[in-house]
Symmetry: C2
Subunit: 350 residues, 2 copies
Amino acid sequence: MGVISVELGERKLHILQAIIDDYIISGEPVGSRTIAKKSGIAISSATIRNEMADLEEMGYLEQPHTSAGRIPSDKGYRLYVDRLIKAEGLSINEAKYIKDIYDRKTRHIEQVIFQTSKILSDITNYTAVVLGPKLSRVLIKHIQLVPIDAYYALLMVVTNTGIVKDAIISIPQGVGMDYLARISNILNDLFKDQSLGEISLEPLIEMREGMIQNRDFFNSLVDALTESIDIGDISEVYLGGMTNIFNYPEYHDIFKAKEFLNLMEQKELLYRLLARSQDNGVSVTIGEENQCEELREYSIITATYNINGKTLGTMGIIGPTRMEYSKTISVMDFMGKTLSNYLTRLFSKE
Amino acid sequence: MGVISVELGERKLHILQAIIDDYIISGEPVGSRTIAKKSGIAISSATIRNEMADLEEMGYLEQPHTSAGRIPSDKGYRLYVDRLIKAEGLSINEAKYIKDIYDRKTRHIEQVIFQTSKILSDITNYTAVVLGPKLSRVLIKHIQLVPIDAYYALLMVVTNTGIVKDAIISIPQGVGMDYLARISNILNDLFKDQSLGEISLEPLIEMREGMIQNRDFFNSLVDALTESIDIGDISEVYLGGMTNIFNYPEYHDIFKAKEFLNLMEQKELLYRLLARSQDNGVSVTIGEENQCEELREYSIITATYNINGKTLGTMGIIGPTRMEYSKTISVMDFMGKTLSNYLTRLFSKE
DNA sequence: ATTAGCACTCATTAGAGGAGAGTGCTAACA
DNA sequence: TGTTAGCACTCTCCTCTAATGAGTGCTAAT
């Protein structure tokens, strides 16, 4: 790809940029006259037409039909994102708006994540998806079996993100509080300070083997732990601004709209979509680059958040390929950092 | 309204029914010829035209424009629902489908409620809203303060529906496990077996007055309890089949669709909408009967579910006024009863 | 009271024509 | 050789018109 800079002269790049900038705002094919007037350089529309024809041949532009202007191809957007956009800081108002919201303290991380999805969709005007903390990355702080009544006890797992997983399990006749307390201690000794991803239930299962009494109880205990770890890993998915897609005329078509909304209802799909991008920082996927067939007309921008530098989860923005990349990338970068700071402050006093 | 039966002869009723039956399926204004052919009675279209003119004058029908067929008015639908529909049982397949899903046991009531919303929207092809258990109706089974580490403890409230509300509160220096256990016991004595709606924090606040040490701790305790009760009452709202509205051509308009989806995103609105109908059994609200301005073009059918006959929550279906009332009412009735049975079996062994 | 017949209404559809935006090409120009 | 003005051409979109047809209301006959 290093050849690009040879292929593409300064002027071509400038024209490509002008076209994409215009198309992102208008959504309409861009003609040579428009560029001749708006772009800084003083060249005639005829010259620009020649350049545009070249750019089309190289695959950066497309033409919906013969007598229309040009629209960027996915390859065009890729070049644009990689080389043409300049970082665009958030406005003071926006930064303040975000900070203000995070100032309302909660210790409920779900609330925070939910808020984040709302903020993202509000600011960007696209659809936001935020994954809750990937539970395999989360540390166990405390496990306890709490008796509720004669028949049931509550298995409780508290993590360093303040999340509490609980499961109700039935206890056999004649098991007393002291017994539960003993088991609690054992569980704590076994699992404390391990991450949910690392822990192995082996020792517990071995223990069970040695037992004659209360095997049923141990079974349900193992089951409950397994479940809270497994189910846990497909972490929560929070969606914000689903209907924002209607703001863009190319999705006024009812079938496209329905298709999109149906995708957004499939939490597992969204999870897979975001969970993949594990690299830190902001990453951009444009149109056809998407693995997912149905999302070939959308772009996705993701960022991660962490506690103490340890990546915990992902947030994403989904919008049309003619997305305001510059603005959106800045927002994602800012939000990733802000959320990470917030969470670190909140949950890291070990 | 008793006059109706005088005003409306047998034949008018029959015609009205035929028109509504047809319109519910087709969504197109119904003409006299259609009725003459389809409805059982052998009358000419001219006669039916006369009857239709009468029905329109009485307010049961409307005419979109002079040379179109008739469509039912909300008043017409009301008459239809109250007097003309016959109960329509579920098909064996449907009943089986539902039973099968409820057979997969979970003790997580949220899961069950979520499933319910999916089932409802799947079977009816409308949008389903299900409210989680109204927490004011739910009984406290157990309260406990569990120390997590030197700085924090977990306040845990277990209810008879298996829901666990938890809050992390910070504990003052030098407070030991035995102290927390003592407080736990006090809380249990005070609140056990009361419903969240009934309990008063008065005694706790009084206790605080008598204290010199640890006032801060008591404050956060009271706060946490207050919060889990208050926030709790706007119970969870589960939505299923949001995009089902797109199945009906009259909502292919992008603005209507967006308006609808925006409404569905407002959980509090949905909560208020359903929480109102507290009477047991199925209730139907048609078009203009809706309090909510924006829902004047929709009909809502609600049913309640209970544990041991004690009403816990509400489920609802939202769809166009030309809804398949007969079918939907049956489904709601069936689901209300099925869910109640299921929950009763699951949570009532006191 | 019912119905056949007919004139009338109005939404919907298809087609024709014109306007406008934009292109590619050619020839002239610096 | 790169740039530009000019022009014919293409294709979409809008508007206008006419035709179609479903459905009505009224009248007169049964």
